[in-house]
């Protein structure tokens, strides 16, 4: 199994950041701001965020903001969306640079996407999903502006997406999925509404996601994938059931998905690495208290010291 190749992962992330011209990076172009959040958070967890020029990153992030609506796009000149807006806010917080942001403008954009039934649309075009509820609630909480929405209705909507198996789907009646569960449990944790979760029932469902190889899957009958090391594990942490799974086997699975030569982590052993799975692998290891890594907050998906700075002024 071996150790975490921390230094190689740092090099890998820095190299992705610079690559802009091949087809693969063109395919990622529209969500570059999510990629930046994954990469930079990983660097911070690895205690290497100073390897990037923060002024350069911050000014690029700000150039992704849509000046009319206040939301952020996935790249310069792209349309605004809640998902990109959350990433932008998280990146600014990593560098402690919220001062550069017109907080009310951004939070008005986010709050404006709440619907009558408490749900959130991802953007002005009206697609509804519990992931967008998470993006909105997490973002507003980080900006200290939760009072701009009807939090009670937002919680009611999330609860309406709860299934009999204890999990959550993207819409009422949607199948339980570990990614959606993270979003719903995260949003409930942030709003202090975890009493809506049946911890034993959901904990059991989440534990059943651990496969024979030690990795976690997203739904019954699926293969394990490193990204669920974050989604399942953070959910288990929030409902205080993380001791129900075999943590050592999970850590071994993640470490096995490393590219030991060139850095980066893949979805499964021997597959091609990407920055998305590198983040989820490192974040998962951080929740497993892997030595040398900064601890990460399971609800806000930011290093704990960053979250403490936001809510307790350090």
């Amino acid at each position: 199994m071996g150790e975490l190749e921390a230094e190689k992962h740092v090099q890998y992330i820095l190299s992705v950041e610079k690559r802009k011209d091949d087809f693969e990076s063109l395919l990622m172009e529209h969500l570059r701001i999510n990629g930046a959040y994954w990469g930079l958070t990983t660097l911070d967890l690895l205690r290497k965020i100073e390897a990037v020029d923060s002024d350069e990153v911050v000014s690029w992030v700000m150039s992704c903001q849509d000046q009319d609506c206040g939301g952020f796009g996935g790249n310069v000149g792209h349309d605004a969306h809640l998902h990109y807006t959350l990433s932008a806010v998280q990146i600014l917080l990593l560098f402690d640079r919220l001062d550069i942001l017109d907080i009310d403008k951004v939070s008005d954009y986010v709050a404006g996407l709440q619907n009558e039934d408490g749900s959130f649309s991802g953007d002005i075009w009206g697609e509804v999903d519990t992931r967008f509820s998470y993006c909105a609630i997490c973002c507003l909480s980080l900006l200290h502006r939760l009072d701009k929405i009807n939090a009670e209705k937002a919680v009611d909507y999330i609860v309406s997406c709860k299934n009999l198996d204890g999990g959550f789907g993207s819409i009422p009646g949607g199948e339980s999925h570990s990614g959606q569960i993270f979003c719903c449990v995260g949003a409930l944790a942030i709003t202090g509404s975890l009493h809506h979760v049946d911890r034993d029932l959901l904990g059991w469902w989440l534990c059943e996601r651990q496969c024979k190889d030690g990795g976690l899957n997203g739904r019954p009958e699926k293969l394990a994938d490193v990204c669920y090391s974050w989604w399942v594990l953070s959910s288990l942490t929030m409902i205080d059931r993380v001791h129900w799974i075999d943590r050592e086997k999970l850590a071994a699975f993640i470490l096995n998905c490393q590219d030991r030569e060139n850095g980066g982590i893949s979805d499964r052993p021997d597959n091609a690495v990407d920055v998305f799975h590198t983040y989820f692998g490192v974040a998962g290891l951080s929740l497993l208290e892997y030595p040398g890594l900064k601890p990460i907050d399971p609800a806000y998906a930011l290093p704990v010291d960053v979250v403490n700075r936001i809510f307790f002024g350090k």
Binding site: L26, H81, G173, R219
Partner: protein, 446 residues
């Protein structure tokens, strides 16, 4: 060759053949083999004469097209994508400016000429965004530009064309988040304009079926079906009979794709829909009778699930579905049974008799439990040490039963108590058959 030139060729091909139904990105060395494969059969299904294609000139090392199939060389993808992005962003900014000028303009301006230039910009925007999206289907802004144009034009046939483009893109990118979301947007717009949605329902059902056939356990595709059921019921388009029909059609599919947990979830949704509809009808008609064909359907589903469990010994998907079915079933009958007991108590001294339907519910529930426990005994008492299937089956059955007793603690104190204890120490069985999850079994409170 210039990037713009390639883009023009690409867009001309797309324009020329608006019935494209298959698209792929391949190395140009494979183009020759495509010709061989098509010769015999494909021409028969083509509606076009070969001369239609003769009019179209393109670089044959970059593209290959025939019979509504298009292959794009992997060698030119980067070039083509860059050119498409440039063209798209150029026309988008021009369009945005024109729209805002148009909105602020006063009537004395030459509205007609501005109108025609907006029309031209809109057509270009549709053309370039299509080129981008075929190459990169999650390019959100390009989908949004299309929404903007389609919304302004608000033309039913354009919305229908849009569904066709989406079908093409989803055929090779079945998990594209943005494409599914755009599809829902288009359907909502069509529903606003058109009363008869039956065609849409059928088409969506066919599309989703085709996609999940090739792309197993596709969460987005199945979610789309759930969304459609919710949406159409709200619009009061989906009737009782149509849901029954959908249940019927999906049954065969599920039997052939036993590990696809999504398909069982979908069936569960349809059953719950029927139940909700029947409750609503009950309220509307102020009928006191609970009985309709729903309990019968539910019972049939449980029997079918048992049949599958016996046939496919090691499938988690089937047991997960059983949890759902049984949980709903018990809730349904227990509530009815409790209600009956309450009624009975209230009327003991009066002249009213206990409703026979309610009495039946109590008897049925007991009967049901007796059968369920017998079935579990069977699964647990198979020779665990012989084959792996049996081993997994015992583990799945034990975990299922433990789960049920946690959900319905009243069972432990019922008349089935003795039978339950005959099953053995479930936790011990689980620790033996599934030691991987020992931490979970040990942690579950007694």
């Amino acid at each position: 060759m210039g990037d713009e030139y390639l883009l023009r060729q690409f867009e001309r091909i797309l324009e020329h053949d608006d019935l494209l139904d298959e698209l792929g990105f391949i190395h140009p060395s494979q183009f020759a083999s495509l010709n061989e494969g098509l010769d015999a059969t494909a021409f028969e299904i083509s509606n076009r004469t070969p001369s239609d294609f003769d009019a179209l000139n393109y670089d044959e090392t970059a593209f290959w097209t025939k019979d509504h199939k298009l292959a794009i060389s992997t060698e030119i993808l980067t070039q083509l994508s860059k050119a498409a992005r440039r063209a798209y962003f150029d026309v988008r900014s021009g369009y945005k400016d024109s729209i805002s000028v148009n909105m602020n303009a006063n009537r004395s301006d030459s509205v007609t000429s501005r109108g025609s230039s907006i029309e031209l910009l809109e057509n270009n925007l549709l053309m370039h965004s299509k080129a981008i999206l075929i190459l990169s289907c999650d390019f959100l802004s390009a989908w949004n530009s299309r929404k903007q144009v389609l919304q302004r034009k608000c033309n039913l046939s354009l919305f229908m064309d849009e569904l066709q483009l989406l079908t093409l893109i989803l055929s090779y990118s079945p998990k594209s988040e943005c494409a599914w979301s755009h599809r829902r947007w288009v359907i909502k717009r069509i529903a606003e304009k058109c009363q008869d949605l039956q065609e849409i329902i059928d088409e969506e059902s066919d599309l989703a079926r085709n996609i999940v056939e090739k792309s197993k356990m596709n969460y987005r595709a199945w979610n789309h079906r759930v969304w459609l059921t919710n949406y159409m019921t709200r619009k009061q388009v989906l009737t009782h009979i149509q849901i029954l029909d959908e249940l019927d059609k999906s049954r065969k599919w599920s039997e052939l794709h036993i590990a696809d947990s999504c398909s069982f979830h979908y069936r569960g949704r349809l059953l719950l829909r029927l139940l909700e509809n029947s409750y609503r009808r009950q309220e509307e008609e102020a009928s006191s009778s609970f009985m309709s064909n729903i309990p019968f359907l539910w019972e049939e589903e449980i029997k079918w699930n048992k049949f599958l469990i016996k046939r496919f010994m090691d499938r988690q998907s089937l047991w997960v579905y059983r949890r759902f079915l049984i949980q709903c079933w018990i809730k349904l009958f227990r509530d009815d049974c409790l209600h009956a007991r309450q009624l009975h108590k209230d009327h003991q001294n009066g002249s009213l008799e206990l409703h026979t339907d309610h009495q039946n519910s109590c008897v049925l529930l007991d009967l049901f439990w007796a059968k369920e426990l017998e079935f579990l005994c069977e699964c647990l008492n198979t020779p665990v040490d012989e084959f792996e299937d049996y081993h997994i089956q015992a583990q799945l059955a034990a975990s299922y039963m433990l789960w049920i007793t946690k959900q319905f603690p009243f069972l432990a104190n019922s008349k089935h108590q003795e039978r339950i204890s005959e099953l053995g120490d479930l936790k011990a069985i689980l620790i033996k058959t599934c030691p991987d999850k020992t931490l979970l079994w040990r942690s579950l409170s007694d």
